[in-house]
Every structure is written in structure tokens, then in C-alpha cells.
């Protein structure tokens, strides 16, 4: 009889629990990260009454979270990738738009400069044409500087975002450590863990995964260990590693991500992957740095090539040409973390051989080795690094002195800072050197068929460059320079003298003469302007295969390509992530229809249990009545 009461009561209690769980599920059906709960029923132990085993009702073991850890882990991994790609694609798109904006960008600027130089070549004496050329020089420099300036802004924004993400991650790590402690304590004291604590910790893990790719390892005491990068511990049980930023010893403008534990800081910037932080770090390294380097390379080569040619000419006043443009010099940085005492210097020797990459020299204890930072490839170097025999590679010349310690490094940034200090050096139109300092005339009385085919300046600094020199041909195959010794000569053969090179085509007659001399009156001379134009048009990059304008176009399509790839990958990754979330929710999410059905089911069972008690009561009363 008492059994009936007990059984009925256990049903009431059990279904009340079940209704509790159901109502909790309904109430949290829109709570993010909530895992649905389910009451587990089991039959209670039977008891022996007489010789019959009778059941004694139902028991609720516990209210269980319905979760599949494997699916949860999968969705977090997918989230890390999706978050990384989203940040990367968004940031790259900004760079792409900057480079390829409506006004035509750098490529158009360079073409307009080319046009202006051709304009000066057409009207070398026209101040207006020269003014246009100065304007276009200024325009190209402004364009380069504004692109570089925007890229620098992107960089400082990116650095700011990295800082924000790092501090969020640090907060999440401390939160996880605290959660681990509570969970372990609860488990130790009660043997079970409040579901809400577990939900809260999962939420933290989800958030962490969207910031950076992490790996989770659960432990026996209920806490979870978290590792970042290549297995560096972020959270170990109740202890969180301090995630933070530290000044990059090689770059004053930049901070690196470090993980501090036991008072030591490990640089983990390079090993960070995934998540918003990974996306930012990748964007900075793969897009921003290389774009700035490439813009800097265009600026460096533009300035070097134009200057080289311009100084070979003379301006409207007859004075030698000066440098047209100035650009920032290559940088050699000796990190403060080096153990030895070093100084290093780098100079540009051949702008055409520049690669646009950064380099790192490292001391192995016996020798220096150079490595490209973008590809990681080792770069062969000539020379021994002394001032007499500097290291020469990829258009650079590097000197290293002092006492290096093993592992010491020198960072080379050949073009990164070239644009910022770029400026036009010629202020007045008359100072544009469109003419060459020398000219060659055939004597009017010449009877042969020889004529001047080319005269170029090879050494603009030669002291006697503009001296009058006569060339006489005693016979058709010999020449005497300025009354000097008669030497053999053939048509087309170059005659080098006083820093110029003259080529005479055709057959001279015996007694013919040519004069080379100062071109002071040649205001209508456009030969140097033509040379400038040819220089600018020419293949100045990649050892003479790519022109500046092509490089500017490549820059746009290159970054455009990266962005396009990232956007496509992001779309795919987004779908993967959505699918994994769907999978995870299909196990752990609340379905209201299901809960409604459960509600009815448990309610009916509760009512039935109540009926059991009532029946027990009636049976009992009937028994009393019989006795009375």
C-alpha cells in the first residue's frame, strides 16, 4: 500500500523535474550558447514484499546537457577560419580600392608624367610645357605619398585592432581560468557541475575561437586547457598565461604579440593563426607590408632612374641638371635584442635589381647569411660585409661591423620608407634639363657621307665634358681626336672622349672633320628630354623586364587577386561554418515544437501520477471503511 504512495510520489517528483527542464529549455530557446537540458529517468530499485519484487517508482538521475563535444569543436575550428578570412578579406578590399580608385591611380599618374616629358621634348623652350612637367612630377609624388600615407593609416588602424583583440583574448583567457576553478570546485564538492557554468565556459571558448585559433584539451577534474599557436599554453587549469603586446625591437612602429608565463615573454606573432587576430596579423604581413614595399620600390626606382638621366643634361640656363626627385634611403635595422654589438648600413647600388622584399641577415657564429622575409629563401651574397667588400645582393650593398653574437640579426628594409620623404627637387621650370651639354656638328665642307648618328653623355661629372673638341679623319678609316694620335676607326664605332660617346655613321672622306662642343645655346635641344621619356618608359624593374607603369598595374591586380581569393574562400568558409553550427545546434539547440510535445507528455504523466496517489488514498480509505 505504502508502495503505491511512494511510487506515485516519485512520479510526481520526477515529472516535476522534467517539466522544470522543459520550461528551462523554452525560456532559453533564444539564449545564445544555451545547451538544451534533458531529465534522465530511471526506475528505482525494487523491494521484496513477501516473495514478490515490487517496483518503487521512478528516479531522476540528473538533468543532463545534450551536447556533442566533437561537433562543438568542429564548429569552433570553422569559426576561427571564417573569422580570419572575413577580417582579411575586408581589410584587403580596402587596400584594393585605395590602389584602383576611379582617378586611375598610380598607373595614370605615371603616364601623365610620361606625356608631360614628351610635351617638353616637343617644345623644349616652352616654359608652359616645362611647368606641366613639374606639375606632373608633383602629381606623381603626391599620388605615391597619399597611397603610402593611407597604407600607413591602415597599418596603425590594424595595429590598434590587434591591440584590442589581444586585450579581449587576454580577458577571455582569465575568464576561462576563473571558470575552470569554479567548475573544478563544484565538481570536487558535489560531484556534479551546474549546467549553466558549463554553458558559460562554452560561450567563452566560442568567443575565443572567433578571435584566434586555439586547441582545447579537457582534463579529469572538469577544467579545460587551452593552447594557441604551436602549442603554447594560454590557459592551464586555473592559471591563465598573460597574453599581451610588446614593442618590436626591430620596428618602432610595431608591436608583437607575446605570451608571458613565469616572467618570460615568448613572441608568438608568427605562429598565430585563425580568428580575427590571425586575420589582422596575416593582413599586415601578407598584404600591407608587401604593398608598402612595392609602392616604395616604384618610388625608389622612379627617382633613381629619372635622376640618373636628368643629371646628364643641361637646363635652359646652360647649367647641369640636378636630381629631379628625392626618395627615402634603404634602412638597416639592428634589433635591440641582439646580444653582440653591431652596426650595419645599407646603400642602393642598382635600383633595377631591387625585389621589393625585406631581408634578414643572421650570424651563425662563423658567417652571415641573408634570407628573404617574404619567401623565406636564402639569398646568395657576394663580398664579406666589410667596407672594402660589402655584401652585394639584389641591388643592395650592406656593410656590417662590430662583434656579433650567435643568432644576432640585422633587418633590411630597402624600400619601405622610400615614399614618405619623397619630394620634387626642381622648383623652377627653367631648371628642367631637356638638353644635352654637348653637341656634335659636321664641318660644312665635308665631302664624305658620314653623319653624326648619336652623341650621349656617359660621365656628366667629367671636368672637360663641354670642351670644344675637333675630330679629323685623315683617311676614311682613321681618326685623330683634337690633334692627337691617328687611330684606326670604322663607321659606327663609338668614339669616347671627355665623358661623352659619339657615333658617326657612314663613310667619311679623307680630310672630313667633326666638332664636338658646348651646347650652351641649344635651347631648342630636346635630346635629354627624349632620354628621360625613354628611361621612364623602359623596363626598369625585375632586371629589365617590367616597366614602372606595368608594376603599378601589377600592384592593383596583385592585391585585387589576393582580395578576390580571400572573398571567395570566405564565402566557402562561411558556409562550412554555418553548416557546422547547424550540426551542433541539431544536437544541442532547443526545438520549441519538441518542447511543447514534452510539456504535454510530462504534464499528462504528472496528472497520471497524481491519480495514482489518489487511487492509493481511495484504496486506503476503503480498507479503513471495511474495518470501521
Amino acid at each position: 500500500m505504502s508502495n503505491l504512495f511512494v511510487t506515485g510520489l516519485s512520479g510526481l517528483q520526477a515529472f516535476q523535474r522534467a517539466l522544470d527542464a522543459t520550461s528551462q529549455n523554452i525560456a532559453n530557446s533564444n539564449t545564445e550558447g544555451y545547451v538544451r537540458q534533458r531529465a534522465d529517468f530511471s526506475t528505482r530499485e525494487s523491494s521484496l514484499v513477501g516473495d514478490v519484487w515490487l517496483g518503487s517508482g521512478v528516479a531522476v538521475g540528473r538533468v543532463r546537457r545534450v551536447v556533442n563535444e566533437f561537433l562543438a569543436d568542429q564548429s569552433r575550428t570553422a569559426q576561427s577560419s571564417a573569422a580570419r578570412l572575413e577580417v582579411f578579406a575586408n581589410q584587403s578590399a580596402r587596400v584594393t580600392n585605395l590602389l584602383g580608385n576611379a582617378s586611375g591611380g598610380l598607373s595614370s599618374s605615371l603616364q601623365r608624367l610620361q606625356n608631360a616629358i614628351e610635351g617638353v621634348a616637343a617644345e623644349p623652350a616652352s616654359i608652359a610645357a616645362r611647368q606641366v612637367m613639374l606639375g606632373e612630377l608633383e602629381g606623381a609624388v603626391t599620388q605615391l605619398r597619399s597611397i603610402d600615407g593611407r597604407l600607413r593609416e591602415f597599418e596603425s588602424e590594424t595595429n590598434g585592432q590587434i591591440e584590442a583583440e589581444v586585450s579581449t583574448i587576454d580577458g577571455l583567457a582569465s575568464g576561462l581560468a576563473a571558470m575552470n576553478r569554479e567548475i573544478a570546485a563544484a565538481k570536487a564538492s558535489t560531484g556534479g557541475v551546474p549546467n549553466e557554468l558549463m554553458d558559460e565556459r562554452d560561450r567563452l571558448l566560442d568567443k575565443l575561437a572567433s578571435k584566434v585559433a586555439v586547441r582545447f584539451v579537457p582534463t579529469d577534474n572538469g577544467s579545460v586547457n587551452v593552447f594557441v599557436g604551436q602549442g603554447q599554453p594560454l590557459v592551464l587549469g586555473e592559471v591563465a598565461g598573460r597574453f599581451g603586446l610588446q614593442q618590436d625591437p626591430a620596428d618602432g612602429t610595431r608591436k608583437r604579440v607575446v605570451l608571458r608565463s613565469d616572467g618570460t615573454a615568448f613572441d608568438i606573432t608568427a605562429s598565430l593563426t585563425g580568428g580575427a587576430l590571425g586575420g589582422l596579423v596575416d593582413f599586415r604581413g601578407q598584404v600591407l607590408d608587401s604593398t608598402r614595399n612595392e609602392v616604395g620600390r616604384i618610388a625608389t626606382v622612379l627617382a633613381a632612374a629619372l635622376n640618373d638621366q636628368h643629371v646628364k643634361g643641361i637646363d635652359l640656363t646652360g647649367a647641369p641638371g640636378v636630381a629631379l626627385l628625392s626618395a627615402g634611403a634603404p634602412q638597416a635595422i639592428v634589433p635591440s635584442t641582439n646580444d653582440g654589438a653591431l652596426t650595419a648600413g645599407v646603400t642602393l647600388t642598382d635600383p633595377r635589381a631591387l625585389t621589393g622584399a625585406d631581408y634578414q641577415l643572421s650570424w651563425s657564429g662563423t658567417a652571415w647569411a641573408a634570407r628573404r622575409l617574404d619567401t623565406g629563401a636564402t639569398v646568395p651574397m657576394a663580398g664579406n660585409g666589410s667596407s672594402g667588400s660589402p655584401f652585394v645582393f639584389d641591388g643592395l650593398s650592406v656593410e656590417v661591423s662590430g662583434m656579433p653574437a650567435v643568432g644576432d640579426r640585422v633587418l633590411l628594409r630597402p624600400t619601405r620608407e622610400a615614399v614618405q620623404s619623397m619630394a620634387v627637387q626642381v622648383g623652377t621650370p627653367a631648371r628642367i634639363a631637356a638638353a644635352l651639354p654637348v653637341r656634335a656638328n659636321a664641318a660644312v665642307g665635308n665631302t664624305g657621307a658620314a653623319s653624326v648618328s648619336a652623341l650621349e653623355v656617359q660621365d656628366p661629372a667629367h671636368p672637360d665634358l663641354r670642351d670644344a673638341v675637333s675630330l679629323s679623319f685623315p683617311t676614311a678609316t682613321t681618326v685623330s681626336i683634337d690633334g692627337g694620335p691617328v687611330q684606326p676607326w670604322a663607321p659606327g664605332q663609338a668614339i669616347d672622349h671627355n665623358g661623352w660617346r659619339l657615333r658617326i655613321a657612314g663613310q667619311p672622306a679623307a680630310g672630313d672633320a667633326f666638332m664636338v662642343g658646348d651646347n650652351g645655346g641649344g635651347r631648342g635641344d630636346n635630346r635629354n628630354a627624349l632620354q628621360l621619356s625613354e628611361t621612364l618608359r623602359g623596363p626598369l624593374l625585375e632586371s629589365g623586364t617590367v616597366s614602372l607603369a606595368d608594376a603599378a598595374t601589377r600592384l592593383v591586380s596583385g592585391v585585387g587577386n589576393i582580395t578576390q581569393q580571400a572573398e571567395r574562400n570566405q564565402e566557402v568558409q562561411q558556409l562550412v561554418h554555418q553548416e557546422s553550427v547547424k550540426q551542433r545546434l541539431s544536437i544541442s539547440g532547443v526545438n520549441l515544437d519538441e518542447e511543447a510535445a514534452n510539456l504535454l507528455r510530462y504534464q499528462q504523466a504528472y496528472q497520471a501520477s497524481a491519480q495514482v496517489i489518489r487511487a492509493a488514498n481511495e484504496v486506503f480509505r476503503m480498507l479503513i471503511d471495511v474495518v470501521r
Binding site: A125, V581, N591
Partner: protein, 397 residues
């Protein structure tokens, strides 16, 4: 598969977002008229567009340069037309001067005209552009190129001619330096020049002469000397005998690949010089003409000397006219080249514009069809969402 309510309601919202962003993109393509909203949409096309834009920019400069060069070439062409007129008048005067009935007075009047025309020629040679640059000074556009110095005209300009880009990779010289036009006129018949000895006493007059065997001609000076026995002897610069024969008036005198003839009666000791062709400037030729016309005509020998000189000048004037006409035809060729460059540029421009449009512009029929499809899709998604979102078992409890 079990579906969670949160996911059931959220997934369609994500799809709606996606549809809306696609719709917005299509709308932007229609509104802006360009299908490439950012270079990342099609990096290859973006690069190609930049190349084509550069071509268009370069074309505008080449057009401008072509106009500048054409106007300079026309200035030179006009000047050379004036030079041609003067030279033709000189030919007439030379022929008139050779008229045996003219005595010294009319010849002096002819000489006076020659001298005034020579001044005119100098002015043409020193002509300036509207902006004050000398047309025939080479690159020394600020220097007066031609000036008289002790009877002769000297050239103070240089030998440079400017090259200017008028088409892709096509450079055209914008004129001739004055030295080429006025100073370097081939002398004589182009191969050699004939000149009577200054002390000739007979009435021998030499003709034009011609080169019959270029391989035998060695470009050295020679002279034909008339001997007492009625023969002629050709001697070289070292006075060595080269050829000799009996003289008959008008008969060909041939040696070393050249042929000339002498008419009249040269006396023994008379000689004619054969000089390898150098060059003679136009001003010198006119000076020679004036001098010949002013020369005394008293004796037969003087008449013969005058006849010889006028003959040589006539040959030289012919040579000069040919020289100028060659220069004019070169100028004409260059002007044609500029026109051709402009024509091919115009043809290419159409192509470039069409290409640019294909790469960049929105295809409206395609874009509007897409817009309609996307709108239909979005509407359907919204309607189905509205229906789905209302489904709940709780409504039936």
C-alpha cells in the same frame, strides 16, 4: 535531422541577408554603369583597363605633339617654297646673263637683282616662328643662324634636329637644321665640279660633264691642260699624266670614268680643273652669279671666262633646286607620316574604347534580368519566411 528552433529561424535570415547584398551589388552596377565595382571583382580586367587608359592618355599627347611638329614642318615647307621661287628666278637671270647680245649695262642690272634676291634668301633662312624661334637654327633656336662675315655667309646654328613622338614608338624629326638646307648643297654635277683656269686666254668653254664609270672615278682633283700641238692632257694632283688625245671642239674628253667636253678654241696653256664634289652653300652660289654678271666683257677671253662661270653657276643652281626639292619632299613625307599616325590612332581609339566598354561597362540587359531574378528570389524567400516563422505547436495547445 533534428532542427533547433533558433537555427530554423536564423538560417533563413542569413539567406535573406545574402540575397539582399547580392541585390545591392546588382543595383550598384546598374546605377553606376560599371560592372567592376572594385579591382577585386576581376583583377585581370582591372589591369587591362589601366593599360588601355594609359594608351588613351598617351594618344592625347601624341596628337598634341603631332600638331606641333606639323606646324613646324609647314613653316619650313613655306620657307623652302620661297627659296625655290628665288632660285628659279636666279636660273632665269643666269640664262639671260648668258645671252651674247647683253653688254655690261644690262648685266649689271641683272647683278643688282641677284644681290637683292640674295638678301631676300638670307632673310628666309633667318625666318622665325611666331614665338620667336629661328626656324633653321637646329636646336640653337635663340641664335641668328646665318650672318654675313667678310662676303661669305656663316652658319651659327647647330646640326641638331628634334625628334618628337607622334605615335606609339614613332618619332618624327620636326625639321632640318639650316646647315643641311642652305650650306650643304652638293657642288657641281653632284660627282665633280668643273672650273675654268683663271688665266685662260682662249675661248674654250667647258660643258656640264658626267660620270660614265663610277668604279673608275676616284674622287681626286685633276686638270685638263691644252698643249701647243693641239692635244689635251689630263694630269692628276701630282702632275702625272693620266690621259692625252688630240683636241677637237665638242668631242668627248674621257679619263678615269668621267666625260666632259670643251667647245671653242682654247689656246695652249689653258686649263680646266676637275674638283671632287664637295658642297657649296647657296649664298656662295648667288655671290658667284653676281660676280660673273659684273665681270668685264671686253675680250673674247673675258667672254669665255664669263660663259664658263655662268655655265657652272647654272649647273650649281640646278643642283641647288634639286637639293631643296628633295628637302621639301622629305618634309612632305614627314607630314604624311603624322597624318597616318593620326589616322591609325583614330582607328585604334575606337577599338580601345570598345574594349574598355566591354571590360568595364555594365551589360544592362544582363544586369536587369539578374536584378529581376534576384528580386523574385528575395520576395519568395521573404514570403516563405513569414509563413515558416508562424509555425508553432504552442498555437494548438
Amino acid at each position: 535531422m533534428r532542427i533547433s528552433t533558433l537555427n530554423f529561424l536564423q538560417a533563413p535570415v542569413d539567406s535573406l541577408n545574402k540575397l539582399q547584398s547580392e541585390l545591392q551589388r546588382t543595383q550598384a552596377q546598374v546605377a553606376s554603369g560599371t560592372k567592376l565595382l572594385t579591382p577585386a571583382d576581376d583583377p585581370v580586367a582591372a589591369g587591362r583597363i589601366q593599360e588601355l587608359e594609359r594608351w588613351k592618355l598617351a594618344a592625347t599627347q601624341q596628337q598634341r605633339n603631332g600638331d606641333i611638329v606639323a606646324s613646324r614642318l609647314s613653316l619650313q615647307e613655306t620657307a623652302l617654297a620661297d627659296v625655290t621661287d628665288i632660285l628659279q628666278r636666279m636660273q632665269e637671270l643666269t640664262v639671260q646673263g648668258g645671252n651674247g647680245t647683253y653688254d655690261e649695262t644690262p648685266r649689271r642690272m641683272l647683278a643688282a637683282e641677284v644681290r637683292s634676291r640674295a638678301e631676300q634668301l638670307l632673310q628666309v633662312a633667318n625666318r622665325r616662328t611666331p614665338s620667336g624661334e629661328y626656324v633653321f637654327a637646329g636646336a640653337s633656336i635663340g641664335t641668328v643662324p646665318f650672318a654675313r662675315q667678310g662676303g661669305a655667309v656663316r652658319y651659327a646654328g647647330d646640326d641638331l634636329s628634334r625628334l618628337v613622338e607622334v605615335g606609339p614608338g614613332q618619332r618624327v624629326a620636326d625639321g632640318f637644321p639650316g646647315s643641311d638646307v642652305f650650306m650643304r648643297v652638293p657642288a657641281g654635277n653632284g660627282d665633280f665640279a668643273l672650273r675654268a683656269g683663271t688665266a685662260n686666254a682662249g675661248t674654250g668653254i667647258v660643258g656640264v660633264g658626267s660620270l660614265v664609270d663610277p668604279t673608275a672615278w676616284d674622287d681626286q682633283p685633276y686638270r685638263v691642260l691644252f698643249m701647243a700641238d693641239g692635244s689635251w692632257e689630263a694630269r692628276d694632283a701630282a702632275d702625272a699624266l693620266v690621259a692625252s688625245a688630240a683636241y677637237r671642239p665638242g668631242a668627248a674628253i674621257e679619263f678615269r670614268g668621267i666625260r666632259l667636253s670643251v667647245t671653242g678654241a682654247p689656246v695652249p696653256g689653258d686649263q680646266f680643273h676637275i674638283d671632287p664634289a664637295g658642297s657649296e652653300d647657296m649664298f656662295a652660289t648667288l655671290e658667284r652669279l653676281a660676280d660673273a654678271l659684273e665681270a668685264p666683257m671686253g675680250s673674247p677671253a673675258q667672254r669665255a671666262a664669263s660663259g664658263n662661270e655662268l655655265g657652272a653657276v647654272l649647273t650649281q643652281l640646278g643642283q641647288t633646286l634639286e637639293h631643296v626639292s628633295n628637302a621639301r619632299s622629305v618634309l612632305g613625307t614627314r607630314l604624311t607620316a603624322i597624318d597616318d599616325a593620326a589616322a591609325s590612332r583614330a582607328a585604334l581609339e575606337e577599338d580601345v574604347v570598345a574594349n574598355l566598354s566591354k571590360l568595364r561597362d555594365t551589360d544592362y540587359s544582363e544586369a536587369l534580368t539578374r536584378l529581376n531574378l534576384q528580386l523574385t528570389g528575395l520576395q519568395a524567400a521573404q514570403q516563405s519566411y513569414a509563413k515558416l516563422a508562424r509555425l508553432s505547436l504552442f498555437d494548438y495547445l
